[in-house]
């Protein structure tokens, strides 16, 4: 999950990184106690905020209120501005880029450092692999950018302490108005060991500021991160009721997953219940290729119990205007097909009005034959328009069948 700038800066501050003095506003009526000049920053998750007019400078007190109002009335890249961060302006000398992230190329954390601002990659930022067992500062940085070593060490602390996927400062700046006299360089050069830099005793260079913060949390570490953040809007919109309900299915129940990944898609009319992290994407690719409009994306995996599938089915088919339902998956390794399909049927029975649209099912794996026999019986007896396919039918070819049945075209 990505954090807003103000949340990211809270994490930065907690580990000693310098950030400008600030206030968070949700309304222009709140009193601003900071001194001019100020920078107003719309709190949105999308990039290119500055180009979209999301950052305003205030030099005169009389401009403050209407500029705050201007930002709060804005929508930036489909995202409604709900909060504005007011910051003390910092006199900026040079701008740098600094981040920690994970790289598939080195299969571990990397430190990236270079010139800051926009288009960092073109400016030749350099990435240094970091040993996660014993982080040491790259010698290039210790030799040439000694004033940043504390900030880098602190950002590493932020990155590891809070289990982040990305901790990025862009720009990292050296203020021209020095707050504290600069540190003596030689005392910081110390084999690049974090601990030694710390023990060396130089105070943090107070002229170095993180002017922005981009932080992405590792969701898989939520269980051990002490600080919690509220769920945020994605796709430039708040989560739908269905998305919120779907997430709850897996909460506190680790037996497989069904609902942790669920997205409502705009203008779709084919409900999709797909299985498997890999197979689901393959099948969605096929559905789009054959002209199908998916109403949602969801996947279940890891042998979820019947109840989970029942709940998920009720959410997926709870939408109005559906023209078809596609329950699709490959040949499962260990997911019990009978249990998951019976969960589907139990959910299906509770949909009002009773679905008259075609329901295409393609699945393979443990107990699939048993499941198909039961489905055929249920379809006949209860009047569902089931089209059942097993492992002998290519999975992606049922996308075409689904599209033809749903839209009545050949």
């Amino acid at each position: 999950m990505q954090l807003f700038e103000f949340e990211g800066k809270q994490l930065f501050k907690s580990c000693g990184i310098n950030v400008p003095q600030s206030q968070l506003l949700e309304s222009a009526d709140q009193e601003v106690t900071l001194k001019l000049p100020l920078v107003l920053k719309a709190q949105v998750l999308s990039g290119k905020r500055a180009q979209a007019g999301g950052i305003l400078v205030v030099e005169k007190m009389e401009d403050l209120r209407f500029k705050i109002e201007e930002l709060l009335s804005k929508t930036i890249n489909n995202e409604k501005v709900e909060k504005v961060l007011v910051e003390q302006m910092v006199d900026v000398g040079k701008e740098y880029y600094l981040s920690f992230s994970y790289s598939t190329a080195t299969r571990g954390p990397v430190l990236t450092f270079g010139k800051g601002g926009t288009g960092v990659e073109e400016k030749g930022a350099e990435s240094f692999p970091v040993d996660p067992l014993n982080m040491t500062l790259p010698s290039t940085i210790v030799e040439h950018y000694v004033q940043f070593t504390d900030t880098i060490t602190e950002l590493w602390e932020v990155f590891t302490k809070y289990d982040l996927e990305l901790a990025e400062i862009n720009p990292l700046v050296v203020s021209t108005t020095s707050v504290i006299p600069s540190i003596s360089e030689e005392s910081s050069i110390s084999n690049g060991k974090i601990a030694t830099v710390r023990q060396g005793g130089p105070r943090n260079d107070k002229r170095v500021y993180a002017l922005d913060a981009k932080v992405i949390l590792d969701d898989d570490a939520d269980f051990r991160r002490e600080i919690k953040f509220p769920q945020r809007n994605l796709f430039g919109r708040p989560p739908t009721e269905a998305e919120i309900e779907a997430r709850k299915i897996d909460e506190g129940d680790h037996r497989g997953t069904a609902g942790s990944v669920y997205w409502d898609l705009r203008d779709g009319d084919i409900a999709v219940i797909a299985a498997g992290g890999g197979g689901s994407i393959v099948n969605m690719d096929a559905l789009v290729t054959f002209g199908g409009r998916a109403a949602n994306y969801t996947e279940h995996s890891g042998n979820p119990p019947r109840e989970k599938l029942k709940k998920l089915t009720k959410i997926v088919l709870g939408k109005p205007g559906l023209k078809g339902c596609w329950f699709v998956g490959g040949t499962a390794n260990f997911t019990d097909i009978y249990e998951t399909l019976m969960g589907f049927v139990e959910g299906l029975r509770e949909i009002k009005p009773k679905p008259a649209y075609p329901i295409v099912i393609r699945r393979g794996g443990p107990r699939d034959q048993e499941a198909f026999e039961e489905l055929k019986r249920v379809g006949r007896k209860e009047g569902f328009d089931f089209h059942i396919f097993g492992r002998e039918t290519p999975m992606t070819s049922t996308a075409k069948i689904m599209v033809e049945l749903a839209y009545g075209v050949k």
């Binding site: 067992l133 269980f223 994605l234 990944v261 997205w263 689901s280 994407i281 393959v282």
Partner: protein, 301 residues
Amino acid sequence: MSVLVTEKTKVLIQGITGKEGSKAALQMRNYGTKVLAGVTPGKGGYEVSGIPVYNTVSEALDNHPGINTSFIAVPNFAAFGAIEEAINNKIPLINVLTEHIPIADSAKAIALAKQNGVRIVGPSSIGIISPGIGKVGSIGGDDPRGVYSKGNVGIISKSGGMASEVSWILTKNGIGQSTVVGIGGDILVGSSFADLLVDFEKDEQTKAVVLFGEIGGTYEEEAAQLIKSGKFSKKVVAFISGLFAEKLPQGTKLGHAGAIVYGDKGSYKSKITALKAAGVIIAKTPDEIPELLKQQGTSDK
């Protein structure tokens, strides 16, 4: 021969008393794999389907020095500790089923494995199967016999379900497999496509390899580079999924943590371009794979 899982494979299961661990234990044994022992802290002295359980890995090794593979099926919060224990005991092959391991823990585990010269396959790996010889992990479920068949095509897949689906498609078309490996769909994996291609290159049984990749990360591009450099000389057919996902807003999370695209990095196009430039044949749907393999003249027939 086959890769990773051979006649000599002797397995330890960490987390053997859990739901997935105990199930996989029975499956592996039924498929003819030698499962010597299990570990669950605090459950030493118990048995699971006749397999003795120990409190620690070193205790298990003391009693069963033949162990050369560990299968890890513990909850995500305990995974790093379990992997670390296996590494410290120098078990040469560690297959991790556990999903949703914090990425920091995966990074540390991978670095530690490298330091100690042992290999991790996973996390989030469905397992490894050498049809007719044995299997490690949940791959193939209770009875892999219908889906997997012995032959000379290797499969490396980010997706567990698709490892199985692709094997079934091949088997249905009379093409058997040498070894099928689920490498997992996480951002950081212990063994990449390229790592395993090196093993398949050395394996006489393997005549061709199928790669099942998806958007995100750089493992497909890394494989393309290896193939282009000539270090892998056998035929390769690849399928890449995720075109649909690229239409979603950037950063949208799907089930596989690694299937996430920021900017152009890890995009469908970048992978296809790199693989094609290395001479890899691209399948547009998984069902085309047998035909493409046969055209190459490298299948069983």
